[in-house]
Structure formats: structure tokens, C-alpha cells
């Protein structure tokens, strides 16, 4: 039941809430980053800039949405998913199929594919939720491998397009700059929604399930219901990212859209930023894309007579980063770094 009066009050409060938020360290920093992201496309009309550099940022935004969706499910709700590529991939495929073979408009396709992802979240979440902890992790991993293998299967290629997948899709928008802004808006929306959810009473309930499911049950919470909500919400945003990704790449194929490596990326990015923070997922995604790009750019480095190809080593480096973070920095590295900065900031302002 919606209480209109309260909603109205909240609406009036909102600008002042926003004003005080902007003055906080996180607020100022967020606004600063968003401003930079906003003006960046106008910095240069140079082709290589828009086609290479800007595209990397667009990719980071897609992954930010994806990683945040994983963080909602695993970081906030404690349901370990090792198969997040399921939602990402299924949505990408549906989107590609609708556009290519049913000539649906892009936006309708994205909406439908996201809804299908939610449906998968429900269909997979419901039976798998009986599993706890590591079992759920392997259950979701198994599910994603089933899908991967089904899509790779030659005998099903007539229906699922085989290892070739679907290619030659239209882009999300006419130019990389427009694409960039569309993703920018959706990223902001995603993060506003997910952060609000994590701070809400609903979020508190999800966190209680993560911390102690039995205790949550004993507090009168229908934990199954809330876990399914978490699965559906998470698959919604993972699906959204997956649809964008299909159009961003312009093609879908089994390993590119269902690969275990995508689930691994989501885990890595969210852990880099700091689990259960949501906003950490964005930091992690940008850092991750930057690092990947940098490693490929650095390419082959010769040390003495040893040639090291960093582009080739990137996955190994990511794996080491993940291990080190989980082992030594359970709060990620980017969020704590920002907190140190905040202390410095407060010191400078004499707060």
C-alpha cells in the first residue's frame, strides 16, 4: 500500500537530501567522476579516440552493471553465484535473435530479453535455492556449463546456432558517442536503484539472510521468498547488461556470452571494488577494463632475452589479483583506498 502523503514528503525532502549528499566526500567524488564521464566524449572528436578509448569506457559501464548485479546476489544476499553468465548470455542471445531473425526494434528486444533473463532467474533460482553456500556455487556453475554446452552442441545448431552464434547485429546506437551516453544513463540508473535497494529495509532483510539464514527465519522472514526476489532482481540487471553487451559486440557466441570466464569477471570486478558495496562494482569494472586494456597495450616486453607478452598473461594476472584480494583484503582494495582518501580530505578541510 502506497501512502501518498509519505511519498510527497519524501519528494520534498529529496532535494535537500541530495544537497547534503553532494557535500559529503562520496557525494562530491561521485559527482566529480560522473562529470568527467559526462564531458569526456566532447574532449575529442578524433576517430581513434571515439572508436577505441570511448568504446572501452562503454564496455566498462556494461560490466559495471553486470558486476553490480552479481554483488546484489552474492555480496548483499549471500547467495554465491558462479554462473552469472547464464543471465548475461541468455539475454544476449534472445536480444540478438529477436533483432536478427524477428526484426524486432532494438529497445523492444532489450526489454524482452531482460524479462526472459528474469524468468531464468526465477526458473533457476527457485530449485537451486535449496542449496547453501558452496553447493549453490557449484550448482550455478553447473547450470551455466549446461547452457554453454547446449549452445555449443553441433546437433542443436539448427535451434541454438552452434558455436558460430549470431553475428552482424546492428549497434546499440548510430555512433559510439550516443552508445556511450545511453550506457552512461543506464549505468547511473542501475546504481541508483541497486544502492537504494541495498540501503532499504528490503536490503536489510537480504543482508540478514546472508549473515544468518536460520536467524532470519527465526525472525519471521520468509527467506525463500526474499532469496527469489534477490535472484530475480540480480538476473534483471545481469540480463540488461547482457543485452547491451550483445549489441556492443555486434555478435553473440557460446563462449563469448556464456563462458565461465564472464562469471569470473563479475566476481573479480565486484571483489576488486569491495563485496557488498554495490558502488565498488563500478570502481572494479572501470579498473578491470583499464587494466585489461593496459595489459594488451603494453603487449610484449623484453626483459633481457626473455619476451613477456602481457596481453597473453592477462588472465593469469587477473587470477592472481583475485586470489590476493580474497586472501588479504576482504573489503576489496578500491573502497578502502577511497576511505583513506576521505580521511585525508577531512583532514584538509579541517573537519
Amino acid at each position: 500500500m502506497l501512502n501518498l502523503k509519505i511519498v510527497k514528503e519524501k519528494m520534498n525532502e529529496f532535494p535537500s537530501y541530495l544537497k547534503s549528499w553532494v557535500k559529503t566526500f562520496t557525494g562530491s567524488l561521485t559527482i566529480f567522476c560522473l562529470l568527467i564521464l559526462f564531458v569526456m566524449p566532447f574532449l575529442s572528436a578524433n576517430q581513434s579516440f571515439t572508436h577505441v578509448f570511448l568504446r572501452q569506457f562503454s564496455l566498462a559501464m556494461i560490466f559495471a552493471i553486470f558486476a553490480a548485479s552479481w554483488d546484489l546476489l552474492t555480496g548483499i544476499s549471500g547467495q554465491i553465484s558462479f554462473g552469472h553468465a547464464i543471465f548475461f548470455g541468455i539475454s544476449g542471445y534472445i536480444c540478438a535473435y529477436l533483432i536478427k531473425y524477428q526484426s524486432f526494434p532494438i529497445w523492444i528486444s532489450i526489454i524482452i530479453s531482460t524479462v526472459v533473463a528474469v524468468f531464468f532467474g526465477l526458473a533457476i533460482g527457485f530449485p537451486l535455492l535449496r542449496l547453501k553456500g558452496p553447493y549453490l556455487a557449484l550448482g550455478t556453475l553447473a547450470m551455466s556449463l549446461i547452457l554453454l554446452k547446449l549452445f555449443l552442441m553441433g546437433s542443436l545448431a539448427d535451434w541454438l546456432f552452434g558455436s558460430e552464434g549470431i553475428s552482424a547485429l546492428p549497434g546499440l546506437a548510430a555512433t559510439p558517442v550516443i552508445e556511450y551516453f545511453i550506457l552512461f544513463i543506464f549505468m547511473i540508473l542501475t546504481f541508483v536503484i541497486l544502492i537504494q535497494i541495498s540501503k532499504s529495509k528490503f536490503g536489510t532483510i537480504l543482508k540478514s539472510i546472508r549473515d544468518d539464514e536460520v536467524g532470519s527465519d527465526a525472525s519471521g522472514i520468509n527467506t525463500t521468498k526474499y532469496k527469489i526476489y534477490a535472484f530475480m532482481l540480480s538476473s534483471f540487471f545481469a540480463g540488461l547488461a547482457g543485452g547491451f553487451y550483445a549489441l556492443y559486440i555486434g555478435a553473440v557466441n557460446p563462449t563469448g556470452n556464456f563462458g565461465t570466464v564472464l562469471s569470473f569477471f563479475a566476481i573479480l570486478m565486484a571483489s576488486l571494488g569491495g563485496l557488498a558495496t554495490i558502488s565498488g562494482a563500478a570502481l572494479g569494472a572501470f579498473f578491470f577494463i583499464f587494466l585489461e586494456y593496459a595489459l594488451i597495450e603494453i603487449g610484449v616486453v623484453e626483459i633481457g632475452n626473455l619476451a613477456i607478452d602481457f596481453g597473453l598473461y592477462k588472465f593469469a594476472i587477473f587470477a592472481v589479483i583475485l586470489i590476493v584480494i580474497i586472501r588479504f583484503a576482504e573489503h576489496g582494495i578500491l573502497k578502502p583506498l577511497l576511505e583513506r582518501l576521505k580521511d585525508l580530505w577531512d583532514l584538509l578541510l579541517g573537519r
Binding site: K132, L138, A319, I326
Partner: protein, 296 residues
Amino acid sequence: MIVDIMNMLFNGTLTGAVYALIAMGYSLVYGVGGIMNLSHGAYFMLTGYLLLWMLQTPFFIGLEWLTVVFALIIITVIGGLTFLLLVKPLQDSHVAVVIVTFGLAFLLEQVVLISPSGTEVWSIGQLRLFQGYTMVFGYPIVHQYVFLIVMSIVIVLLFALFINKSKLGKSIRAVSQDREAAGLMGINASRILLYTVMISALLAGLAAFLYLPGASLDGPSMGWGYLLNSFAVVILGGMGSLIGSVAGAFIVGYTISFTNVFVPYGPSWAHLVPIIIIIVILLIRPQGLFGKKELR
């Protein structure tokens, strides 16, 4: 027809024998310490490549048997290090253990992938103890595989003997039944867990040494398949149950070989069989066919 049946029976037994070795350790580690070690499949894969790399080194020409000894020692040490460096400090958190061992498996895969031998299919046939095959009802029975099956049975029996009779085995059982009580009896649970993980890595290494010379190294990502299939085996048999692991291994083995031989497009569906077993068992009987433990 008889050829098909022979094919199914022999390959089922073979697959079962391999997975009995791999899954036994995997299950033991979970049963004793509640540790879900996702690097377990990577141990198997890495042993194969360790053997390959050593065989490619001129030093080992004529000393092929030394490569086996070294590879098994190295993989056992890697198992021990996994526990000491990564698992032990994180034991309180299931999420962390799962993620960190997932990361390690991924790392081992990548390390092999970027090595010069990463992207091709290799044979380590030099290590076959038995060459050739015998036709039985028109189906070629490979001698090396017969050796494997026999060895696997011997190792399983020795292992059961070890767990039930030896002092270390008894300590392992004590820790798995009640960690605190074992602590009170003066058993150092942490050390026992360390040994358990090392033993499990050794068993995975043994499986690789017995199986891979007769087959091939199909690329570093093969570890995931073995991990998932072992998971199917222990899910079927019940986490922590040794008899369950062995029984589960053969059930999975025969199911795979049946699919391979008798189902249309069998070989591609056979990949899916273990995963489907996992999902179905998890949903209808989460404690496994032979297990009693609750999933908590």
C-alpha cells in the same frame, strides 16, 4: 551389438575407475574439513602437464620413471600449499574458500595455457606401462586401461585400509566426525586437514598418471570437466562418504558410457550427463544417494 555392449561396459568401468580416484580425495577433504576445493580438477590437469614438461626435458631421457615421482611429489606439495596459504586462513568463510580455490584453478589453467605447450593436444604415451590391446568380442581392450582399472581398485582398497586401520587414518576420521572432540583428544585438526588435502592431491595426481598416458592432454581447461564430474560423483555418493564416492564414480562412469554408445549424438550429450546428474540429485536428494549429512 555385442561390440556396443562391450564398449559401454569397458569404458564405463574405466571412467568409473578414474573418477573413483579423483573423487575419493575431493570428497574426503569436504567430509573432514568442510572445504570445497575447486582446484581439485586442476591438480589432475597440472599433473599431466608436469609429466609432459619433464618428459620434454633432455635430462629425463632414460629416466622417465623419475618424472612420475617428481610430478606426484610436486602436486602433493601444491595441494599442501593450497591449504596452508589459501584455505586455512580463510576457513571461517565458505564464500572465500570457494572463490579463492576457484581463482587458483583459473590461475593454474592460465599458467599452463601460456606455457609453450598450452594450446595443442599432447600425448604422454611414453609412460604407458602396457602397450597394445586384446580383442574381446570384437572390442579392443587396451592393456594400459586394464592396468588402470586394476590399480584403481588396489588403491581404493589400500586407501580404505589406510583410513580404517592406520593411526593417521583414524585421526582423519576422528576430525571428520567431531572436530572439537578430536581436538580434546590431542589431535591437531589443522595438521590433519593439511594431510587430507595433500592426500587428495596425490590421489588426483595418481589418477592423472594412470589415465593420461593412455589418453591425451586435451588442453588446460580439461581440469574443469574433471572437477565438475567429481562433483557429480560425490553429490551422487554423498559428500564425505568414501564408499559413496566409489559407487558414485561407477554410476557416473556407466551413465556416461551408455550415453556415448547408445544415445543419438551421444558423445556431445555425454558431456552433459554429469551436470544433469548434479542438478537432479541436488534437487531431489541433496544429501546424495548414500550420504546422511545435512547440507548446512
